[in-house]
Amino acid sequence: MAQLFDRSSNALARMSLVLTGLIVIALGVTLDQLQRSPWVTRQGQRADQPVPFSHKHHVEGLGLQCQYCHTTVEKSSYAGIPPTKTCMNCHAQIWTNAALLEPVRHSWATGESLAWTRVHDLPDFVYFSHEIHVNKGIGCATCHGRVDQMPLMYAQNTLQMEWCLDCHRNPAKNLRPTSQIYNMAWQAPSRDRPVWCAAAPGETGVPTAQSVRCTAVDPAAAGVQLASLAWSPSAPHPLTGADSAAALPVALAYRKFTSQDDLGHFLLDHYKIKSPKDLTSCDTCHR
């Protein structure tokens, strides 16, 4: 009856204990990372589409309005994917025989739908409404990113619940004037780029989307010369109806904002954004 194990076994035994611990920890970390990884969320992935449609070209290049294609974004929960006809409006005249556009022409000819791959895909038990977001000061770019910089469409954000909650718990940090919803380049106000906002008179009667007027030009100084705001969309403003600048009554009491935080809280009040308690209530998104 002599020694059963070799000298080294002690070191081995203890090392293996430590190792097991490490492996367990490593596993945990990996899974935690995996559930957020693009492999799961498809964040940033460019799905292959029947037509390599470039938002960059159409938005930045040609200056198309978001709503030219996504027509129901203000009216419905569903922003709307343009019917083939929308494409053909132009492409019946230009690029009429570009190979790239063959599927579009085919669809137009046969009446078969184009089969796009959904880029922003929420689970089916989540009920998201575009209309209420754009009517209450959440810009397209906030969720979809700089679409005007995307040659091919991809999801800027994870669209996971934690991401939704992040904003629903503190909407102020993402609010912007409704006149800037479609402005891809909108940046939060700062010292050198302040924003002046005023609440429309007679708060209640006015639709939420029009309850605040904003401008980047000091109203006091500019007076009537407000006509075209530096970054206001050229097309007449979709939400406030007429050209927002022209519609500015000089009488309004403007406040100057130099930080997103101030502006956010100002808008929070005037757009009557619900409290985080309401916004994170389960029935907000699930039924």
Binding site: L4, D32, Q35, Q160, E162
Partner: protein
Amino acid sequence: MATREVNPHQPGIDPATGEYRVIAPGQTFRSVTEKITRIVLTPYTPLGWFMLIAVAGAGATMLLVAVTWLVLKGVGIWAITQPVAWGFAIINFVWWIGIGHAGTLISAILLLFKQSWRNSINRFAEAMTIFAVICAGMFPLIHVGRPWLGYWLLPLPFTMQVWPQFRSPLMWDTFAVSTYATISVVFWYLGMIPDFGTMRDQARSKAAQYFYGLLSVGWRGSVRHWARYETASLLLAGLATPLVLSVHTVISFDFAVAILPGWHTTIFPPYFVAGAIYSGFAMVLTLAIPLRKFYHLEGLVTERHIDNCGKVMLATGFIVAYGYGMEAFMAWYSASHWESFTFWNRAFGPMGWSYWVLITCNLAIPLTTLWSRRLRRSMLFMFVLSLVVNVGMWFERFVIVVTSLTRDFLPSSWGTYRATKWDYMTYFGTIGLFVFLFLLFVRFLPMIPMSEIRTMLPGAKIKPKVAAEAGD
């Protein structure tokens, strides 16, 4: 132990010490060691063992089938329905956990009370605990509608950022049962380390030596180690005691916290714990009596042990009886219609029969017979009785879970419950699994703690003369 008033010439008394003899005379360190190690280390496995494990294995396979089908089809294959949304699964869960309790009680509480007789039976009692907890722990997982989401009961940082709801007794269960399982396993293994050392040194085959050698983590019996070991064991015992009491208390909360008449009652915690120990000791007997016969351990597991178990059952049985009595009393005394109707329905409603089964099996038979020492020492009787009590305790849970649910607040929603074959397959399947694991245990692990038996042997007595010399 009342040792003083017994006369030293009475049989069963060790004349040397004047104490009850818990193990038969004539045992030495080596004889004990060999007797116990041989069961495991012998290359020859008794045929009976093979036959038994074949049967048990079949049972376990049946369980596997039932659970697979359950996951494929959904819990609808069981009899659960509206309004009886909990059925066999929860009954079995409570029943198994209850059985587990005796093991912890024997190993922990009796250790604290310095009941040395426990030493012979605590090892396989603990094993019983662990296997019972395995069977029990399975049910909360498989009984949910979407078992594959069971991990949502753990507070982990998912991307949903939603968390468990800690007001729910089911969350309490999650922690109580997982803690109970962990601590039981640790305690069990800790207890076996020195014996693994013995096995390592008794084993002839290299494989066995390495196997037990690893398990023994190099135990060499240094008295320093022994000292820390003893402290740790005592501490674990001290922790396991409040734990075991809390676990069944928490499980009783599953019912007591609900507002359902027949569940919503404050007596449940004590009465569940008592019931648990009651059924647990019954199961200990169900296992011990055949075991000692089969492996000729009469010398180590003596009539005395069986007798004591009988006494514990008598005591806990009466606590349970008090529980039943109290329910009846409160039904009348509370003057609450809910209470009185529920109790009436329990005894005389459509499912009344189950109530009378439990009264017969838990009170009528045991509490009348266990008084007699002769019966307590009759192996056959105790074996049968243990089975009877196990049945009775199962029906206690049946009455609580099912009968209460069949008729609650709104008469329009009254219903009934009829178990399906899948319910039975799952239930008997777990029994199969339990026996299967237990048979593996007796074959490969020392079922009686040698180091603890040794302390009770005459050889362990340090001669007074030695002590005297040590004095100066």
